[in-house]
């Protein structure tokens, strides 16, 4: 089974007021478009700060979107791969995760965010944004589990983690990975390189 349109959400610690957390993102994302900071073609910004537990502020790209997303009232850096990525499932998981980690690393380095927002190292959601390709059903999980095990082994460098699958069949197929101890973005990036 091909698991395309991989989405990664890195849990982020930030100000309690999500809307306040998101305001500095607007000029930052505009600058990122100006400076073409990612491999993806960056196009525009969608501002959804006014929406409860919503997508937050989204940096729209052609191949992928980046966002500081507040879905389920859980603030996180979200990478949403929209175009097909050539390669294996492992390649896709790694590419998406690297992209998300690089983005949060860049965001943490922004002066307006200094100390205010960072990856807390506690959870990484991985889900597939395509219900036809990967319906949230037992057979998808059966095909996915070996792939996940292989990827998580690499990602966490062999260290312990837990995996909790999305149980609501209406929601997209996915899993939340929680390392036994918080990890840094740098460590994860190093494991993936």
């Amino acid at each position: 089974m091909d698991f395309e349109h991989v989405n990664i959400k890195l849990s982020v610690e930030g100000p309690k007021d999500a809307e306040g957390a998101l305001e500095p993102l607007i000029p930052i994302f505009h600058r990122w478009i100006q400076q073409k900071v990612f491999d993806e073609l960056l196009l525009d910004i969608a501002d959804y700060r006014h929406v409860y537990a919503g997508p937050g502020v989204v940096l729209i790209g052609h191949q992928a979107d980046y966002a500081v997303d507040n879905t389920d009232n859980k603030l996180g850096l979200l990478y949403n791969r929209k175009t097909v990525f050539e390669g294996s499932n492992q390649d896709r998981f790694k590419q998406a995760t690297r992209s998300a980690l690089n983005a949060i690393h860049r965001l943490e380095a922004e002066p307006t965010f200094a100390g205010k927002i960072h990856f807390d190292g506690k959870s990484i959601e991985l889900f597939i944004n395509d219900r036809f390709l990967a319906p949230n059903k037992p057979e998808t999980r059966t095909a996915f589990e070996p792939e996940l095990k292989q990827f998580a082994e690499t990602l966490f460098g062999g260290k312990e983690y837990s995996a909790e699958y999305e149980s609501d069949p209406r929601r997209r197929f996915g899993v939340t990975l929680k390392p036994a101890h918080p990890v840094s973005a740098q460590e994860l990036l190093a494991n993936l390189s």
Partner: protein, 751 residues
């Protein structure tokens, strides 16, 4: 784009009606053929528009990044999906929801589509539709199939055909309605969808249904065709019918609908509409898009002649059994509650009390209410849509509708269930009070995603909502119920003309720089089906609009007479005084380091009109022209004052003169020796600006210049109140366009 696109047909086998499935297959083939260059880009553009697949801002591949115009190099290269519209550039998918009616499965499907094909948000429009943004064209067939599988079509959501048929969201439960218009709106939708007689229009056509005359209801006054429920007694029997109006419309210059027939029996509404469609298709303008709506045809012919033509056309129509078949069960149509009626339980929270005060509307059946779910800027998340689906399943028979105020209403809610339902809504962020109140601001997408946007309507709406929500419990009651509506440009998608406080985006120069502004339009009437239109007062920088709202609401509270509506207040106070209240806000900042006006709400980039398209006008920035354009604008104002005083002919003449002065101001940049002779001014303007397309709107084309030519041709005539009013609106738009042209000037104009 989406890996699963090829799976959609197979996965949904048996769920999609065959005819609709075939149409989507055809569209998918057309996509392939377009990619191969075998279909002309213009033909493909109209094809996709007729399926609701719109373009979005920056889809010409260029975007100002604040420092320069960035070229966006998509993988698709030069392949286009329409003139100046790059194939890979994100688009918008419009989804029709006739009468706003949805069921829980449809809400859930919308949630899935928002996540998988868009940015996670579904947007409710001012015509009860949904829109999904940032959708790739290659994903649209799969998206359409998934909608078709739950009974939703995107067919003719855009393009030159019949758009969504809107209806009052309280139809069937309203205490004041004459009868439930829902089945008739549904019959009209089914009858007109894909009908051969509606495929040859020069522009779009928007019908609406109302159950009453006095409330906002279906806003029939501002629609191409409106149907207001009426009855009459024949031989002792009460017969249903509709008061039918035609030729209304907002757009750049709003028109009131005219009475076509005071009573059309229900079995005649479909053939009469068909007859109207045929007349429109045959006689409506097709080449000049700016005059192609039916309102212009009705105006040009006069309503009496138009009626005659429709009556003659009606006689020629071949009999169609659907005229009656589609409405035969209409009188038997009714919704039912799921749960028994009851009374509100006693002890409630403060939040519930506030919400109940604004978001409930008693139904004609005792023990039930319709509740409004107020959406901020018309946006709802996927998870909220699923929660809403759960709620309507639990408490009702899924009787939920969208509204033109960009909200939802849930009908048939038992009073007994209210507190529990409120808690369920609140838990998912859908329990905001203030539905229909001043905090419930309507806004079109504007510069966020629309190619035509001039100023950030959503940015302004979000800012106003935040400030007003903070003050909401301090409002004087008359202020609390004011309507604010914001359009990103003159095209009125935010319906600013029928707001108490309306705003539409324009641009002006300050200190040599382009600055986003909004024209302030006051005193529109929401009630009585959008009964009358507001008056344009003055253009104010976008960042100062919150101050405008604050001042005007304070003045209203201070100066109103007992029971005086805002509309009557603005009429009584008058345009001159209203403008005087705001005049200081038009001036540049006294602090030379204050750059706040030069960017728009929620957008730090230096403001530019460049994202609307490449600049058309060329010329050196010359200060005197600003004075002359200001003088022209003053004359428009004077024309309005004259009209308000009953000096109808003077008003028309002054409006015409203002356009001449605006044109002369631009011509003078090239020919400093231009005289005051009107013929010479118009002739030189035409040669130097219109024929060279310097005075040219990227999307409205020569529309505004044509206002001048038309006025010049009719100069010397005696103006009527209507023709003066239209001319004043057109003059304002012409001068706005002159400002815009001047703003685009970037190099010395050769003499």
């Amino acid at each position: 784009m989406k890996a699963s696109n090829s799976l959609s047909a197979e996965k949904l086998t048996g769920l999609i009606p065959e005819v609709i499935g075939r149409e989507i297959d055809i569209f998918e083939t057309e996509l392939v053929l377009r990619k191969q260059g075998k279909i002309d880009e213009r033909v493909f553009a109209e094809t996709r528009l007729r399926r609701g697949a719109y373009g979005q801002r920056y889809d010409n591949g260029q975007r100002s990044d604040g420092a320069k115009v960035q070229e966006m190099r998509y993988p698709s290269g030069d392949l286009t999906k329409g003139p100046m519209t790059i194939w890979d550039a994100p688009g918008m998918q419009r989804i029709k929801v006739p009468g706003g009616g949805l069921n829980a499965d449809q809400l859930e499907t919308m949630a899935d589509l928002a996540e998988e094909y868009s940015d996670g948000i579904a947007h409710v429009t001012t015509r009860q539709d949904f829109q999904l943004h940032y959708v790739h064209i290659e994903n649209t067939p799969a998206l359409m199939r998934r909608l078709a599988a739950v009974g939703i079509t995107t067919r003719e959501a855009c393009g030159n055909s019949v758009r969504n048929i809107t209806a009052c969201p309280y139809a069937g439960v309203c205490r004041d309605e004459t009868f439930d218009v829902t089945p008739y709106a549904d019959a009209m939708f089914r009858f007109l969808l894909g009908h051969p007689d509606v495929q040859n229009f020069g522009r779009k056509f928007k019908p609406a249904f109302s159950g009453c005359v006095q409330h906002a209801c279906g806003l029939t006054n501002l629609h191409d065709m409106g149907f207001i429920a009426a009855t009459r007694t024949e031989n002792g029997e009460v017969k249903r019918g509709f008061t039918t109006v035609v030729g209304g419309g907002l757009g750049a210059v709003p028109y009131n609908a005219k009475l076509l027939d005071s009573f059309v029996p229900v079995e005649e509404i479909l053939p009469v509409t068909q007859a109207v469609a045929r007349v429109f298709a045959r006689l409506g303008e097709k080449r000049n898009r700016s005059r192609a709506r039916i309102k212009f045809l009705v105006q040009d012919l006069g309503i009496e002649k138009f009626k005659e033509l429709v009556a003659e056309e009606r006689k020629t129509l071949p009999y169609d059994p659907r005229w009656t078949a589609f409405i035969k069960d209409a009188e038997a149509f009714h919704e039912e509650p799921l749960r028994p009626a009851g009374e509100i339980p006693a002890v409630q929270s403060e939040g519930f009390a506030r919400w109940s005060k604004t978001n409930l509307r008693p139904q004609k059946t005792d023990g039930y209410v319709t509740i409004t779910v107020a959406l901020p800027l018309g946006d709802i998340t996927a998870n909220q849509l699923r929660s809403l689906a759960d709620i309507v399943r639990r408490y009702t028979r899924e009787t939920v509708r969208t509204t033109v105020e960009q909200n939802f209403v849930i009908r048939w809610v038992s009073l007994k269930d209210l507190p529990e339902l409120y808690r369920a809504l609140e838990a998912v962020g859908l329990g905001d009070p203030g539905a229909g109140a001043i905090v419930d601001i309507v806004s079109c997408p504007g510069t966020d995603t629309c190619k035509l946007g001039i100023s950030s309507s959503r940015g302004l709406a979000a800012e106003l909502h935040k400030r007003l929500a903070e003050k909401r419990f301090q409002f004087d009651q008359p202020v609390e119920n004011l309507h604010i509506k914001i359009s990103g440009c003159f095209n009125s998608c935010g319906q600013h003309h029928v707001a108490d406080l309306g705003f539409y985006g324009v641009s002006r120069k300050m200190g040599g720089f382009a600055v986003p502004h909004f024209q302030v339009v006051l005193g529109g009437e929401w009630e009585h089906n959008g009964g009358s239109y507001g008056t344009t007062i003055v253009a104010i920088p976008s960042k100062r609009i919150p101050e405008v709202v604050s001042r005007l609401t304070e003045k209203y509270v201070q100066m109103r007479t007992p029971g005086e509506t805002f509309k009557d207040f603005t009429k009584r106070v008058g345009k001159v005084q209203l403008k005087a209240m705001l005049e200081d806000l038009t001036k540049p900042s006294t602090d030379p380091n204050d750059r706040s006006l030069f960017s728009d709400w929620s957008d730090p980039r230096e403001y530019t009109l460049g994202d609307m398209g490449t600049g058309e006008c060329a010329g050196e920035v010359v200060a005197p022209v600003e004075f002359e354009l200001t003088a022209a604008e003053r004359e428009v104002f004077e024309a309005q004052v004259a009209l308000d005083s009953g000096k109808v002919n003077e008003a028309g003449q002054t409006a015409y003169r203002s356009m001449l002065h605006g044109a002369k101001a631009l011509v003078k940049l090239i020919n400093p020796n231009i005289s005051d002779d009107a013929d010479q001014i118009v002739s030189e303007f035409k040669a130097r600006y219109f024929d060279t397309q310097k005075f040219w709107d990227p999307f409205a084309g020569g529309k505004f210049a044509n206002y001048l030519f038309d006025a010049h041709q009719k100069a010397g005539q005696t103006y009527t109140a209507d023709s003066s009013r239209y001319l004043i609106d057109e003059a304002q738009l012409f001068i706005d366009a002159a400002h815009s042209c001047y703003n685009q000037l970037g190099k010395t104009v050769a003499v």
